[in-house]
């Protein structure tokens, strides 16, 4: 009976903290640790326990990509950050395109659509949202860009050349041809800043001699919820930390087979007293292809699981803001929302 109780305890811990990947389904997916769910456990919210259990580890960071671990929070909050990063962190992007002349083969609306998708290197925290119904735009909420380019024939090209790079001047319109036109006092407010597209070499359109494009663009501040062009991340995703345990010791040929079933680096073979013994070296690297379930003799010897409150986030920025700034901004957006509801609760009289 004692053994039974121990096994129960073990499986209870597993149910509370792990998402188990079975052969035909995934078990214990939802968070169940709420007050009253488990006798003997008090799961009421306690900030002290939270602070003790919570930590952040940054594993990789460069200008474009940030990978970090968030340990000790609930799935709902981790998912909230992912969603906020995708849809509610504001950026600046081209919204209105005033077409003065477009004799290129690209239609006006297609050109406008393409210009909107170009990421603009402008810190959105320096600007305000445009007020409703304001058509003109003021200097505090609008950035103006101009794209004026005309294609002509190159008089110095060779007679028999068929290479468009040689025959024509300005036949490819790149994002580097977009120039910033300061509005109002922007030239004084931002003397050193140069607002330009993040990447210089985005091909916008192609021209032939005689065609020209002359447009004026207004950039405004917006969020990804409104239009995907305002999303500041290339993508933001997370996965749960894998947890692989060998239920029984695996040796010899089976060990080699086991190693092949997982991503490279997960399983390591050690030589103990002449026999090859398998050991889980680094479960974090695994991508859970579940290859192990295709082998009858191995599938019951391994338990595949994920740790339910350990999130490995990967945030890739489009270049407008560095990814660590993006995560901080996302947390601030969530705080702003909480504050807004708290203020509303306090202002509405409750009877």
């Amino acid at each position: 009976r004692h053994v039974g109780k121990m096994a129960e305890r073990g499986s209870l811990e597993e149910m509370r903290s792990r998402v188990v990947l079975g052969e035909f389904g995934v078990r214990h997916v939802h968070t169940t640790d709420f007050p009253g769910s488990y006798p003997g456990y008090t799961d009421a919210w306690d900030p002290v326990t939270f602070r003790q259990g919570f930590h952040v580890d940054v594993t990789h960071m460069d200008e474009g990509l940030l990978e970090f671990d968030l340990v000790g929070i609930d799935a709902a909050i981790a998912n909230a950050f992912r969603r906020i990063l995708l849809a509610e962190v504001p950026t600046m992007a081209v919204e209105k395109v005033f077409v003065y002349n477009n004799t290129s083969i690209v239609q006006d609306e297609i050109l406008a659509h393409r210009l909107g998708l170009i990421p603009i290197q402008a810190d959105p925290r320096l600007f305000e949202y445009r007020s409703q119904g304001d058509e003109e735009g003021t200097e505090i909420d609008t950035l103006q860009f101009q794209l004026k380019i005309k294609c002509s024939r190159n008089p110095r090209a060779a007679k028999e050349s068929s290479d468009p790079n040689e025959l024509y001047i300005n036949h490819k319109v790149y994002s580097r041809h977009m120039t910033w036109v300061p509005l109002g006092n922007q030239a004084d407010l931002f003397p050193d800043a140069c607002f330009r597209p993040v990447h210089d070499d985005i091909l916008i359109a192609q021209l032939r001699p005689g065609q020209e494009i002359d447009v004026l663009m207004h950039c405004v501040k917006g969020i990804g919820k409104d239009h995907a062009k305002f999303s500041p991340v290339a993508t933001a995703s997370y996965r749960l930390l894998p947890d692989i345990t060998l239920v029984q010791p695996i040796e010899g040929e089976a060990a080699e087979k086991l190693k092949k079933c997982f991503s490279p680096g997960v399983i390591e073979i050690q030589d103990i007293k002449g026999k090859k013994v398998a050991r889980v070296a680094n479960a974090r690297l695994d991508t859970f292809s579940r290859e192990i379930f295709r082998h009858e003799e191995l599938k019951n010897m391994v338990r595949l699981a994920r740790v339910r409150n350990h999130y490995i986030f990967s945030v890739e920025s489009t270049g407008i803001l560095p990814p660590d700034v993006l995560v901080s901004e996302a947390i601030r957006v969530l705080m702003g929302k909480c504050q807004r509801f708290l203020d509303e609760l306090d202002s509405v009289p409750t009877d």
Binding site: F34, D43, W45, V56, V58, L342
Partner: protein, 73 residues
Amino acid sequence: MIMKNPEVEFCGYCITHPSESKINFRIQTRGGIPAVEPFRKGLTDLMDVCHHMLSTFEASVKEYKAQKETEMD
């Protein structure tokens, strides 16, 4: 957050129609306290969680950058 409150007997939400951004949120307490209180407490607890996360994250990023600096040198 609100579910973690032992006074709360029921907590749920549903979205009335996908084209409107409106959520029907229902909190039912065991009868001891008015239902607005868990809502308020939940929001303040979430604010605290966010504050703590922000400071921990920024400290972690700083530490990583400092470590990178020392590695470069």
